[in-house]
């Protein structure tokens, strides 16, 4: 994969843009300030003869935009209704309806000896994988971004392709045998390492783009003052790409949180099984879903990811903002 180094083709971002980029530790707050500034800029007085046409166009655009956003809102919220109604319904079905309100489903779920502890296991496995993926990917992406290795993009893409083989059903025997030989069966560590291996290439692939986008000049100055590469990474590069790291962390957590097959074949003790595995046990002997338990558990099982997302996005920002500059 040979990708152009775009900095040679395009002028660097204008100075306001860069300034914004540098000061932006908390993008949530930063965005609104920027945007006000830019909105002001775009409302610069215009030549009189155009103003009327522009007003019509502006009105139409506003209506169009509002319609578009309303449709998108509907589209993205509609499927979520079931999760809001079924857990509280005395007789949940796949119908979304105003529930015959009850909390009994939560009570019967609490009777399940594995339900709540499985969420703790999900936290261990997802948190472990996310930490491993973010740290290793950040180190590797930084090095790959700063030191030119011939064919690195092609190599990265090749690893990305291989990750698609390993995360599929067909790789379960090799993964299981590998874990057996490394004595990792029935350990959280085995799950973490196996899942991290599958996530790392994409994480490096994305993070390298981020790192490519951070200007090297500060690193050079820091180097002049005698900072070590690890210090440079820690104090200069990481703060710049923090929202991106946060995004990768959330992405890794969400991926591990939903993984069923690998934890299922690697773990034996249900006391170590994550929520994704326990969710699959809430069926009858004939395979009929116990919707009262499933809907309730689905809600509980989804909440930690949502809470994490809200926390991470408030604390670190949650976007590729300012990361990838080309």
């Amino acid at each position: 994969m040979t990708r152009e180094e775009p900095d040679q083709h395009h002028p660097p971002p204008r100075s306001e843009g860069r300034g914004r980029f540098w000061t932006e530790e908390r993008p949530q707050r930063g965005t609104s300030e920027d945007a006000t500034r830019e909105d002001a800029a775009s409302r610069r007085p215009e030549p009189r003869e155009r103003s009327e046409r522009n007003q019509t166009r502006h009105a139409l655009a506003t209506i169009g935009r509002a319609t578009f956003l309303a449709v998108v809102l509907g589209f993205f919220s509609l499927p979520l209704l079931w999760l809001a109604s079924a857990p509280f319904d005395a007789h949940p079905s796949i119908t979304t309806s105003v529930p015959e309100f009850t909390l009994a489903n939560f009570r019967s779920l609490l009777d399940n000896p594995y339900a709540l502890s499985s969420l703790g296991n999900s936290v261990i496995q997802a948190g472990g994988s996310a930490a491993l993926v973010v740290v290793l990917a950040a180190l590797a992406a930084y090095a790959l971004s700063r030191v030119r290795v011939p064919g690195r993009d092609a190599l990265l893409y090749l690893l990305l392709l291989l990750s698609s083989v390993v995360t599929g059903t067909a790789a379960m025997v090799p993964l299981f045998e590998l874990a057996t030989r490394l004595n990792l069966i029935d350990t959280h560590l085995g799950v973490v390492l196996t899942l991290s291996g599958g996530l790392l290439p994409a994480a490096i692939f994305i993070l390298k783009d981020f790192m490519d986008g951070t200007p090297a000049s500060y690193e050079e100055s820091a180097r002049v003052f005698g900072a070590s590469p690890l210090q440079i990474l820690r104090h200069i590069v990481i703060p710049l790409v923090r929202p991106g790291l946060a995004t990768i962390a959330v992405w890794a957590v969400a991926n591990v949180w939903g993984s069923f097959l690998q934890p299922f074949i690697l773990l034996r003790d249900p006391g170590k099984s994550p929520g994704a595995v326990i969710l699959y046990t809430l069926y009858t002997e004939g395979g009929a879903p116990r919707l009262d338990l499933i809907s309730t558990f689905s809600l509980l099982y989804s909440l930690p990811v949502v809470v994490m997302y809200v926390f991470v996005s408030r604390r670190y920002g949650f976007r590729f903002h300012g990361g990838i500059k080309r």
Binding site: S93, I94, D111, N112, P113, Y114, A115, I124, G128, A131, L132, V135, M172, V173, F176, E177, T180, L184, I185, D186, T187, H188, L189, G190, V192, L230, Q231, L233, R234, I238, L261, F264, I265, R268, D269, P270, K272, V277, I278, Y280, T281, L282, Y283, T284, E285, G286, G287, A288, P289, R290, L293
Partner: protein, 454 residues
């Protein structure tokens, strides 16, 4: 960054520590694996294992002066996923000492070398076990492959035709309905249809229902047409018997006697349960699971408070009287789980003791926990089944005429081909084309036309 790395290293160590350390200090540890989990799928089996088997067996061993720890390893997932996990364990010469398997898997596990005949693992005690005399030959067959006993059967089941007596009364049909031919099923369906029943007949079909299509529909019908899916070393191909089966399916689903869309839905089987309970389905072919766990008045997934009065059951007739396998008038299909020993068990003798303990009359009775169910032991069945007329019916009338699936590794693919053939005719395809397509698929799956009959 360095702090981050240190934290990471710490986390890895903690994780590694979590993984080890469940070794017991003294005594012997035995592990039982089953596709059951407390609070989830087959919870009764899991609870019984944990609360009855383990403490009692440990106490019994202690009385003999041995310290034995028994650990239960629950799963409670989709059967195929459980099978995969067990196969991986056995392949790597690990896994539990006593393992729960569907009887249908015995052959393929034996062929793969994952399990061995019981006497090979546990010695002659396994041959002279008291329980063998209590288990009917046909039920023992669940754990037998190529004439050798690989596992102890836990119990069995049977398929019947359920019908809604209220709807039958409305359609002028008798409450003690017992069809004697396929045509009489169609006739009843037409009467129900005239009486305004939305779905007169539910006969599982298509791939979405999976093995339920094969077990509740295709195989009983095939038996009723006089053929077994696997006999004398050959698989049934697109024979006349198969065409009869597909023709019957086609008749039901293209003349408005069944709901073809229901067969395509992923939740089709669950919906059929709900519709039967709501009084929308007249006749439904299912196993005794339907009676025990679906329309069961209290804990069923589609409970019917008046089940005992409203739900009738009848034997599945052959195409014509005498046209079934072995010249039978009525047919059924059965399956059931078995428990096997891990040939790599470090304590095979003790594992056998545990296995035999789990299949003693006392343990079998206890496993039922008051609920009736057809166990493998006639001595237990005689006591418990009188409480439930339906299960007694299965035990007395169905089991003598039933048949079993071949326990071979390619069976799941043949089963899928059968399901696809039913799907084709249910959605209006021709019987001959579906049978020809089935023949091609089976030939490809089982290694050529030489292994296919008809």
């Amino acid at each position: 960054m360095r702090r981050g790395l240190a934290a990471l290293a710490g986390a890895v160590l903690v994780l590694a520590a979590c993984g080890t350390g469940n070794e017991s200090s003294d005594g012997v540890t035995l592990v039982i694996a089953a596709n059951a989990i407390s609070g989830g799928k087959n919870a009764e089996t899991a609870d019984w294992t944990e609360k009855w088997v383990i403490p009692r067996f440990e106490a019994e061993q202690k009385a003999k002066g041995r310290v034995v720890h028994v650990v239960f390893q629950p799963s409670g997932v989709d059967d195929e996923q459980y099978k995969t996990k067990i196969a991986l364990d056995l392949k790597s010469r690990a896994g539990a000492d006593v393992i729960d398997l569907d009887g249908i898997w015995v052959g393929e596990f034996a062929q793969a070398g994952y399990i061995k005949p019981l006497p090979d693992v546990a010695g002659p005690e396994a041959e002279s076990w008291e329980g063998w005399s209590r288990i009917p030959q046909a039920v023992q067959g669940l754990g037998v492959f190529e004439g050798k006993k690989y596992g102890l059967p836990e119990g069995t089941d049977g398929r019947v035709l359920y019908f809604n007596k209220d709807l039958f009364a409305k359609a002028g049909l008798p409450a003690d309905w017992q069809p004697k031919s396929w045509q009489e099923i169609i006739d009843a369906g037409n009467a129900l249809k005239r009486a305004g029943v939305p779905v007169p007949i539910q006969l599982n079909a298509g791939t979405a229902m999976g093995e339920a299509t094969t077990m509740q529909g295709a195989l009983p019908l095939l038996a009723g047409a006089g053929a077994q899916i696997w006999a004398d070393g050959k698989w049934t191909g697109g024979s006349q018997a198969l065409k009869d089966v597909l023709g019957f399916y086609r008749q039901i689903y293209t003349t408005g006697l069944g709901d073809p869309r229901l067969q395509q839905e992923v939740q089709g089987r669950d919906k059929s349960f709900a519709q039967f309970a709501e009084g929308k389905i007249g006749i439904l072919a299912e196993g005794d699971y339907f009676w025990r766990a679906v329309v069961e008045p209290k804990a069923g997934v589609a409970p019917m408070p008046n089940r005992d009065a409203a739900v009738g059951y009848a034997l599945i007739p052959a195409k014509r009287p005498g046209a079934g396998i072995r010249g039978q008038d009525f047919v059924s299909m059965s399956g059931g789980a078995v428990r096997v020993l891990n040939p790599n068990s470090k304590n095979p003798k003790l594992a056998w003791e545990l296995l035999a303990f789990m299949h003693s009359a006392e343990a079998t009775t206890s496993q039922l926990a008051g609920a009736a169910r057809i166990t493998s032991r006639t001595d237990v069945n005689d006591q418990v089944l009188s409480a439930d007329p339906m299960l007694k019916f299965v035990s007395d009338k169905v089991l003598p005429i039933t048949a079993y699936r071949p326990p071979l590794a390619v069976y799941p693919q043949v089963s899928t081909a059968l399901q696809e053939a039913t799907a084709a005719v249910v959605s209006g395809g021709s019987v001959d084309e579906a049978a020809a397509a089935y023949q091609r698929k089976v030939e490809a799956v089982v290694g050529g036309p030489a292994n296919v009959a008809g």
